[in-house]
């Protein structure tokens, strides 16, 4: 019975957390905690893989917990197995990384108990099969991750981030609660089996969809519900940031898929797809634009999470649109693209966050403007980070490109859709997707170039040294996976096809393994194909060929000398290009529109000794127009009501008196 084993392993994680409470003080216990978590995650990962590849039948289990008359339902099917794989892969690698990184933790007592609990919460969400258990695990996940965000609570910024995070999480849960209320109906049939069979009117289903978008979107970071994400993810310790950004957002995506594709099920109104598609496109572009404006490495990565969530939701929106028109073959392609990107993003985002963790541990700096030249002291970290950066920038032959290529192919099928809105929307979203991909490349040239290349901008960066071997192992595990998923996409596509067919009325992509050279052939009759393996081979061959020839027949002498730089090399590292200056052209092009970015140069007159100043003022439109008014309103109302605390007894009496008279009048007039 694999399911019971999965559950007991998740429980074991909780126990580890409890044990860590007592153990946190003592040294070496962090190693223990992370070690056990690593082992458990690996086992869970293996079991999930087995279930997914063996295409086993769904297993269910009911425990006498949760809602008394309902019990806690658990279920393991292809979809949850796929996401279990994603979650536990991330968990395992993060734990491995933490074996080394955890020793730099200043407050282990605030991390160790909650880390395994967080993992357990995510696993339970994926296994839950009734509304109560689902929300229970969901909220538990939020709570434990909140505790991890608050680990370094002495910086007021972190406290604020944690607060915003918890409130947004509560908002999301309430939205989901309402959605489940709709799905369950007045009789309160909260278990998913009942919900699947229940009939819903289109209006209610649409309402449920919107609520689910709000609920899961607020956790996944859909614009405009993303505001908490770039604050909260960086605030946590880096391996937790990797989990939150790389994995927890995927759990949110799972929630969306589970409820919308599985529970709501057919029939799907066509405009659902349009809605999700549009949100995804906006999220993708805004996310990467925000990221370009950041100097804080972790916050930059967090904003890229927003972007990639947008890409995933583009795929999901396309799938909904196709399903709404009974085009299941195309829907299969879109779904595959989305799920594939889920996996890819979890890989390279964890990789990047862990790499940032290594940098943080080595230099104590997150601000790119104070880093630089790290490729010299920590070449291996640099290499891993470079692979991650190339992958997230969708460069062939790495995995990011494979999934985005599939998404493009799905968009190219949209002209078959009958609805005009979708016809216009799809190419526009395609343009947005292309734009976000290109901007992402720019952003990671900045991230990698400013952080690792050039010359160190601060003594901390100059004295950095290579990170420990646990961390390096974790980094290169992920880097290898990125490369493999990139050159063998066919295998991955076949691997997640059971999940796709589960959600897609049995329709799935053609089997890829039979193709020559493991080429990716999304739709049989359309002749668009891509083969990462061959591309890699060609590049390797030609590159090596060139190298060999040149070194064999031409010179291979090398002479070191100061930089040329057109004759006047600047001795001061501060004269290098900074993150801000690198982003300036793009800020001028896009930022002036989106963020109302204003540049202000104050140049002292000649002879004046004072330094010239250059300031950039930017506004966050989402916050300024979405959230600030709400908070202001709440504060205003509170201030207004606050007087009621200070009335005289007479006034309070007259309140009661008024209530009484009012009700009596009501009585008198009622008849």
């Amino acid at each position: 019975m694999p399911l019971s084993l999965l559950l007991s392993l998740s429980m074991a994680l909780l126990v580890v957390g409890l044990h860590a409470i007592s153990a946190a003080r003592r040294t070496g216990r962090s190693q223990q905690t992370y070690g056990i978590s690593l082992v458990i995650c690996v086992i869970l990962l293996g079991m999930a893989l087995v279930h997914l590849l063996s295409a086993a039948a769904p297993a269910t289990l009911i425990l006498p917990l949760g809602l008394p008359w309902l019990g806690a339902h658990f279920r393991l099917d292809a979809l949850s197995a796929f996401f279990l794989m994603v979650v536990n892969l991330g968990g395992a690698v993060a734990s491995l990384f933490a074996l080394g990184y955890g020793q730099h933790e200043p407050a282990p007592g605030r991390v160790l108990p909650f880390y395994p609990a967080f993992l357990a919460g995510m696993n339970l969400v994926l296994l839950a099969d009734d509304a109560f258990t689902f929300l229970f695990a969901w909220e538990f996940m939020s709570l434990s991750s909140w505790a991890l965000v608050m680990a370094h609570h002495r910086e007021s910024a972190n406290t604020r981030a944690g607060y915003l995070y918890l409130v947004m999480a509560c908002f999301g849960t309430l939205a989901l609660l309402l959605a489940f209320g709709l799905l369950a109906g007045p009789q309160g049939g909260y278990d998913f089996a009942t919900i699947r069979t229940a009939e819903m009117t289109p209006g209610l289903a649409a309402l449920a969809l919107i609520l689910v978008l709000m609920g899961t979107g607020s956790k996944a970071g859909l614009v405009p519900l993303h505001v908490w994400l770039p604050l909260a993810h960086p605030a946590a310790p880096s391996h937790v940031s990797a989990l939150m950004s790389g994995v927890m957002t995927k759990v949110a995506v799972y929630g969306f898929i589970r409820i919308v594709f599985d529970l709501l099920g057919e029939p799907v109104a066509w405009w659902w797809g349009g809605l999700v598609l549009g949100l995804g496109g906006i999220t993708a572009v805004l996310g990467v634009l925000y990221a370009l404006m950041q100097h804080d490495l972790k916050r930059l990565l967090a904003y890229h999470t927003v972007e990639n969530i947008g890409i995933i939701f583009i795929g999901l929106g396309l799938a909904l649109a196709f399903q709404g028109n009974q085009m299941y073959a195309s829907a299969a392609l879109a779904l595959t693209a989305a799920l594939f990107h889920v996996l890819n993003h979890s890989l390279f985002k964890s990789l990047l966050f862990l790499g940032t963790g290594a940098v943080l541990a080595a230099t104590g700096e997150r601000d790119m403007e104070r880093l630089g030249g790290l490729i010299h002291p920590m070449p291996w970290t640099a290499l891993a980070f470079l692979i991650g950066a190339a992958a997230i920038s969708a460069l062939p032959p790495l995995n990011g490109f494979a999934s985005e290529w599939l998404t493009f192919q799905a968009i190219l099928l949209t002209p078959e859709l009958p609805q005009w809105l979708l016809k216009f929307l799809a190419p526009a979203v395609g343009a947005l997707l292309a734009l976000s991909a290109a901007l992402a490349a720019a952003c990671f040239v900045k991230a990698f170039g400013i952080t690792f290349l050039g010359r160190p901008r601060s003594p901390a960066a100059a004295q950095a040294c290579e990170t420990d071997r646990y961390s390096l192992t974790a980094l290169f595990t992920l880097a290898t996976l990125c490369l493999l998923a990139g050159i063998l996409p066919g295998l991955v596509v076949d691997g997640l096809s059971p999940a796709v067919s589960l959600l897609n009325g049995g329709a799935r992509l053609p089997v890829q393994q039979s193709q020559p050279w493991l080429t990716l052939v999304p739709v049989v009759d359309v002749k668009s194909t891509y083969n990462g393996l061959l591309v890699l081979l060609f590049m390797a061959l030609s590159g090596i060929l060139a190298a060999v020839l040149i070194h064999r027949f031409a010179s291979h002498g090398v002479r070191r000398s100061p930089a040329w730089d057109c004759g006047f090399p600047d001795v001061n590292p501060a004269a290098q290009y900074t993150a801000g200056s690198f982003a300036q052209p793009i800020r001028r092009v896009f930022g002036s529109v989106v963020f109302q970015a204003r540049e202000q140069v104050t140049m002292p007159p000649p002879g004046d000794g004072r330094a010239a100043r250059f300031e950039v003022k930017m506004r966050d439109p989402v916050w300024d127009y979405g959230y600030a008014p709400i908070t202001a309103a709440v504060i205003a109302i509170s201030n207004r009501f606050n007087h009621l605390q200070y009335l005289t007894i007479r006034r309070y009496l007259s309140l009661v008196f008024g209530a009484l008279v009012l009700l009596l009048l009501g009585m008198a007039l009622w008849r």
């Binding site: 007894i649 007479r650 009496l653 008196f657 009484l660 008279v661």
Partner: protein, 221 residues
């Protein structure tokens, strides 16, 4: 004969309403106390009459309680308190007596409007008594709301209790539990209030509630 019974009950109950209005009218503490004594006296008579026409003898006890405690003991006690506290004689009425009288009249109307249709089931005496009792209760509340002074607040509360007793007496065959509880509560109330007034005496220079409102909870924080 029934007519007479009814008229007398009506007269007494109505008298209580009028006296409640008089209470509203007072703006001097001693006068207020005297009128309140009158109020309680009328109550005693009304309850006694009810006992007579209902042949419910336990009601005589209630009447006695009302007479002894509310008409005699309490006013005297309060008189003492007022004198030994030496609190200033006049009590400012919040926004004019005239407005109070208007509000009072409106309340009486409301009480009758609410009560008469409701109690169609029970007999006429109970209906009258209940309507007037409700009026007395509301007027007592108005008195509490419209006075700054602690003592008059207490008196307002008492007249409200009087209204309750009237209602209880009006309800045929209401078990003794109620009267006991009423008397008992009034007793406790008196004691507590007494304690309070003295405590307040320890802390404050006057029983004027405005003095206490100065320290309303939370303001200092």
């Amino acid at each position: 004969m029934h007519g007479l019974e009814f008229d007398i009950a009506h007269l007494l109950a109505g008298g209580m309403v009028v006296i409640s209005l008089l209470l509203l009218y007072q703006d001097r503490l001693y006068a207020l106390l005297k009128v309140f004594a009158l109020h309680s006296l009328t109550l005693a008579l009304a309850v006694g009459w009810q006992a007579h026409i209902q042949e419910a003898h336990h009601l005589y006890v209630t009447a006695g309680i009302a007479l002894v405690f509310k008409a005699i003991v309490i006013p005297i006690a309060l008189y003492r308190i007022v004198r030994q506290l030496g609190i200033h004689r006049t009590l400012e009425v919040v926004g004019g007596v005239g407005r109070d009288m208007l509000a009072g009249a409106a309340l009486v109307a409301l009480a009758i409007l609410v009560m008469l249709p409701v109690t169609a089931g029970t007999d006429a005496v109970a209906r009258e008594d209940l309507a007037f009792a409700l009026a007395v209760v509301l007027l007592g509340l108005l008195l509490m709301v419209n006075r700054h002074n602690a003592v008059s607040l207490v008196i307002g509360f008492m007249s409200l209790e009087n209204g309750l007793v009237l209602a209880a007496a009006g309800a045929r065959g209401m078990p003794l539990a109620v009267e006991i509880s009423v008397a008992f509560s009034v007793l406790i109330a008196l004691i507590v209030i007494g304690i309070f007034l003295f405590r307040i005496r320890e802390r404050f220079d006057s029983v004027d509630m405005q003095a206490m409102d100065a320290f309303r909870g939370g303001r200092r924080r």
